[in-house]
Amino acid sequence: MTRDEFLAQLGELLSCLPENQAQDARRFYDEAIADRMEDGMSEEEAVAAVGTPEEAAAAALEELPAVPRAVAKTRRRSSALLWVLVILGSPVWLSLLVAFVCVALSVYLCIWALVGCAWAVALALGAGGAAALAFVAAGIGIGNVPFALAMAGSGLALVGMALLAGAGAWALTRAFARISALWAQKALSPFKKLEVDDKTTGEAHRPPRIHLAIAGVLIVLGVGLAAVGFAASGFDAGVFSVQLDAQTGAAVLGGVQLDHPLGIFPLS
């Protein structure tokens, strides 16, 4: 084989690469052959010494990620064959692909549903706390002090728990967002070469955990207040109850029936 034949074959085998990369490989082997001829070999010997064009092409393609390399290798045989395989195999690979994507997607959605649940719990606790605190005003309005205390206590405790649950939900969200990014990278890795950045996620720049301290104080304070209210009511669990009937307009706060509920709450 002559030098020109070798280089032409190599160029053809590397036609799947960008032109500058194929050119770079051709120049490298051109130089290797020329140096051997300068060293006293005949052209034939020099070409034989650098190996076959197939070996050279395989080596140049070695650094490609898996999928482009497979495509390049199949194309090397024949692009028609590649398309025949793709089309004939489509009932198999297409359905497998769809199934795989669906499973991956549903697992992914489940994970985010879990995160959504965490947020819903936090939100529900917060809303419950806010409602309880609103009833404090009503308790004071009707002069039912144990009820007001019980509501204030459980309101504060619920808000504290909402803070805790919110912090947990936030941590979950961040963790899954990070995992999602990792998975996306993994999923793309057969197609694209990725720079691996070993960014150590910062334990160092954690935000101060002041909200956790606040939550703790709120819960302790709330439970204390609620206990006082409970005691003041003569240990009647009804002190924690609120019954509102939107149809009759009747209201029972902390076990005490109100005579004129409409004065306190704009019930229809």
Partner: protein, 103 residues
């Protein structure tokens, strides 16, 4: 030779070949010990990898009316050679351990 090990050895050999002065493809193939069986098709991706990792620099210069690429080691490359050499005691230890199985 085991593939991963050979890869590490080859890398160290090529870095050594361009350490004291710059060198070019054919000369690297000749300089590296024959037992490594280094050929152009092994050398080409290896040089690319080393260049990408910043272990060597490349320049083109004219030689006999044609261009030839010359490779030279960088500080990062030197450091990698040092790391390779620093592993020798543990390689020796492993060798002695495996050799012990023969007796």
């Amino acid at each position: 030779m085991e593939a991963q090990m050979k890869r590490g050895f080859l890398e160290a050999c090529v870095l050594r070949a361009v350490r004291d002065e710059e060198s070019y493809g054919y000369r690297i193939v000749k300089d590296v010990p024959a037992c490594m069986g280094l050929t152009e098709s092994t050398l080409y991706p290896l040089l690319k990898r080393l260049e990408k990792a910043g272990c060597i620099t490349v320049r083109s210069a004219e030689h006999n009316g044609r261009l030839r690429k010359y490779y030279r080691i960088t500080d990062v490359g030197r450091q990698r050679v040092d790391e390779f050499l620093a592993e020798w005691p543990s390689v020796q230890e492993i060798y002695r351990y495996v050799e012990g199985a023969q007796q």
